[in-house]
Subunit: 200 residues, 2 copies
DNA sequence: TGTACATCAGTGAACGCGCGTTCACTGATGTAC
DNA sequence: TGTACATCAGTGAACGCGCGTTCACTGATGTAC
């Protein structure tokens, strides 16, 4: 009983993946336990062998989705040079197809849901800090001469993450695809050092 | 029957206000029609004399809350000079007490909920554009010499709104009040022309 | 001013349904000898 | 290799509850004469 079998672990992960998909599409309250289990190829009764409650599942989904993002950003931030790394992170986050498909970062589709559930809220704390650290690592120095200020990169990372999250929230809310696209483009332009725009 | 009585109008507004409060606190799916009516000082049965369904209520709440913001920003943008106007709008939006109380802009607490409900989504389109126009009106020229570019203010407004929305979403999600505060401060600093920080 | 009536906003019991959760059971897997 | 048994992941019927919605009714308000 001490070690869970590998089959158990796989099933648990399948449930987490199914919930991660459906919760982002329909919100946590918009998806029942039975729908999650069906998506995972199981029946609803077995759910409680893997999670104590739907709340506990939500918290695990929150943790697992955001830790995946944090790991990805961390790796990019340590592998690439800062400039290309930042561009990869931002372009990946603000990718219009991903946003339209609804498979974008859970912060943008479930942020308020997580914020209202204390278990989910505390589950994401670590990953959130990890994302900020990765972002701070690849932030450019500001164009005024203030590159010495120690917290400057952190402040820029906080603002950049805010801009990305907000842009995706607003792009998904916009009724018009052109406006959606404008949010994503404007956010990317405001985070990345100016250089992309035209030849003027 | 043509003209609704003033009493009817007042009651309808009381329901809208109650729903605006409770939906922002607990999410749309987290609040029942009976809770909304009780908060409005009525019993649940009377609800359907005022709204066709809970969905219709959600859409009206979306419209009414965001149009209120749009009107407020519009007035500020036409009354004050651009600099002070922008500062008032940003400081009002990123106010830490308002964020902590949960009475902040509905985009940050219900944005994803609205985005998933087509009626709500189309109900907010106009107000969203109104908010962007007000914001564009008070945006400063960029510090590079590109002040002639006609869409530059619009792009800045899109990015600024994204930053504000994202910062509040993240501040409410952060488990630590200090981190919450840092999101709000960093967002304000990144939107407002640099000048507030220290005497350096 | 007073009476009779029509209107209609709001009441509260009742409905069917879907949800989260429980539990006795099944049947496949693995271990002991 | 073969048999007997223990384990345990997954099944599916059942539960109580709360939700969105309906509807026959009440009682206050306003109008007609």
């Amino acid at each position: 009983m001490a070690e869970p079998t590998s089959r158990r672990i796989e099933t648990r992960q399948r449930i987490l993946d199914a919930a991660g998909l459906l919760f982002r599409q329909h919100g946590i309250d918009g998806v029942g336990v039975d729908a999650v289990m069906k998506q995972a190829g199981l029946t609803h009764g077995g759910f409680y062998a893997h999670f104590a409650s739907k709340e506990a599942l939500a918290a695990e989904v929150a943790r697992s989705l955001l830790e995946k993002s944090a790991r990805s950003w961390d790796e990019i931030s340590r592998t690439d040079d800062p400039g290309p790394a930042l561009r990869r992170i931002v372009a990946g986050y603000l990718n219009p197809e991903k946003v339209a498909s609804g498979l974008c970062c859970s912060l943008t589709s479930l942020g308020p849901d997580f914020a209202r559930r204390s278990a989910s809220r505390s589950a994401v704390g670590g990953a959130l800090r990890g994302m900020l650290e990765a972002l701070a690592r690849v932030m450019p120095d500001p164009h005024d001469g203030d590159s010495g200020s120690p917290n400057r990169h952190r402040g820029n990372a906080l603002a950049a993450l805010s801009t990305m999250v907000g842009a995706v929230v607003l792009a998904r809310l916009a009724d018009d695809p052109e406006l959606a696209r404008a949010f994503l483009d404007a956010a990317a332009a405001s985070i990345l050092p100016e250089r992309t725009n035209t030849t003027g």
